[in-house]
């Protein structure tokens, strides 16, 4: 059974290590904050100028001056800080953020990522994505393995305008956990009940399968 968005978020949350500063992109990545394991100390950075992002507020306590990068109302945790956009991107570009989690429309077997534009149809803009992918040491992409038409989104080469080149390290899709190596996509884990053969059939880019591929453990 392919994972749903929450399943993907739960699996990615397992990659968050104690002591990490983490930036979460809009969409599935924001859900990751809800599933970080107990005992892991982490600070979430939001590119619009807050470190120590907390959960959504209770009803009636929303503050219009405290939002995240997706323009949602949030709270802050004890020890949080506010700062301006130039400083925020110094944190990102200057490699002070340990882990970046963001979505993608396409990823290539060389680690190129496209997530900001569909020419003629959707041109919302790149926001902070280009800064994030150009600078982060550790990037995990949350994405759908296939689009609605059943076509692979893990490609030999991206067809859409790029956000960054050669920057993706790890991907979690509804079907698999993969990493990018110098030989292409390498399959690390498969979603519960999903076969290696199926994953191979929907991965257009070069897919390396070595040894037995275990199922993801999602709690």
């Amino acid at each position: 059974m392919a994972l749903d968005k929450i399943g993907i978020a739960k699996r990615i949350a397992q990659e968050v290590k104690d002591g990490y500063y983490v930036n979460l992109g809009i969409g599935i990545p924001t859900l990751v904050a809800n599933y970080v394991p107990e005992g892991i100390n982490v600070e979430f950075q939001s590119e619009n100028g807050v470190l120590g992002m907390g959960p959504f507020p209770y009803e009636g306590e929303e503050d219009p001056d405290v939002i995240n990068a997706g323009k949602q109302t949030i709270t802050t945790l004890p020890g949080a800080s506010f700062f301006d956009s130039a400083m925020s991107f110094s944190m990102i570009r200057g490699k002070h953020v340990d882990l970046t989690i963001l979505g993608a429309m396409e990823v290539s077997e060389e680690g190129d990522i496209a997530n900001w534009k569909i020419p003629g149809k959707m041109v919302k803009g790149m926001g902070g994505a280009m800064d994030l992918v150009a600078s982060a040491e550790n990037i995990i992409v949350a994405m759908m393995h296939v689009n609605k038409a059943g076509e692979s989104k893990l490609l030999k080469k991206c067809s859409l305008p790029l956000t960054g080149v050669g920057c993706v390290k790890k991907i979690v899709t509804e079907l698999a956990v993969l990493e990018i190596t110098d030989r292409g996509f390498k399959l690390l884990e498969r979603a519960p009940g999903v076969s290696v053969a199926y994953i191979q059939s929907v991965t257009e880019g070069n897919l390396i399968v070595e040894g037995e591929i275990t199922e993801m453990q999602i709690f």
């Binding site: 956009s85 130039a86 991107f89 041109v123 919302k124 790149m126 902070g128 305008p161």
Partner: protein
């Protein structure tokens, strides 16, 4: 007094002279949004603070609509929503060109852009902040890794440093920077609140004239010099905003316990 008579004459003179300055801090205060935006004309390039609808100069934007200035180039991270923020200027067709990083919340914007009515330059958010800051701080240009290998780098110089590729980006040149702060004093010193800070500090002093609207304009001496976010030297005009709607784009809550 015995003590004063023992102090050499020079120092006594300076001590008396210095008293003159107690009431002579440079005042940036203007009394209305009209005064604040005097001199904004058609064809100008404006910087506007804000992230989404958070920290936007609501009163200045409303007045720009009233002034009817058009053919503007606006540097601002987002374009507001259809009926608020910069969306109002778009609705009234006052903007010729937007320089932003993300415009997803505004359907009118996307429509004008896809139809070619509106010229749009989409640039990485960090680059946008830094191009403002470069203008504020006198740097003509800087190298950034953001956008290398993408269409953002087209036509721009690139250079390698320590085995990694970077793109040369230039400081903005703007006529007015229009900023929103939380509290400010008559000297133009500013404090920002929460995530309403965002681009506002980097835009102060980044254009020929910086105009700031504040929720509270306080007397000199109220703000502790240790906790000022932007010193008044970067500000030319400051006024108290009349009214703030502070619209929330996405009201997200968690369930009560």
């Amino acid at each position: 007094m015995k003590i004063i008579s023992k102090i050499p004459k020079k120092i006594t003179y300076f001590t008396i002279f210095a008293d003159k300055y107690l009431n002579q801090m440079i005042s940036k205060k203007v009394n209305s949004v009209e005064e604040a935006l005097r001199g904004v004309t058609n064809d100008m390039t404006l910087m506007l603070g804000g992230f989404g609808l958070c920290g936007i100069p609501e009163n200045a934007i409303a007045h720009l609509v009233e002034m009817g200035v058009n053919n503007l180039t606006c540097i601002s991270n987002n374009a507001g929503v259809d009926d608020f923020g910069l969306g109002l200027l778009l609705q009234h067709k006052q903007i010729k060109k937007m320089i932003s990083s993300y415009v997803g919340e505004n359907e009118e914007f996307e429509r004008q852009m896809l139809s070619g009515e509106l010229d749009v330059e989409l640039i990485p958010q960090g680059t946008l902040a830094e191009r403002c800051k470069a203008a504020q701080g006198g740097f003509p240009a800087f190298y950034t890794p953001a956008g290398y290998g993408t269409e953002v780098a087209e036509g721009k110089e690139t250079r390698e440093f320590n085995g990694k590729m970077y793109v040369l980006e230039k400081a903005f040149e703007a006529d007015f920077a229009i900023v929103k702060a939380w509290k400010g004093d008559e000297a133009g010193n500013l404090i920002f609140k929460g995530t309403a800070r965002n681009f506002n500090p980097c835009m102060c002093g980044a254009a020929k004239i910086t105009v700031v609207e504040v929720e509270e304009l306080v007397p000199l001496g109220t703000l502790d010099p240790n906790f000022i976010h932007i010193p008044g030297i970067f500000v030319q005009r400051i006024f108290q905003g009349e009214h703030y709607e502070k619209r929330i784009e996405q009201r997200t809550v968690r369930p009560a316990k």
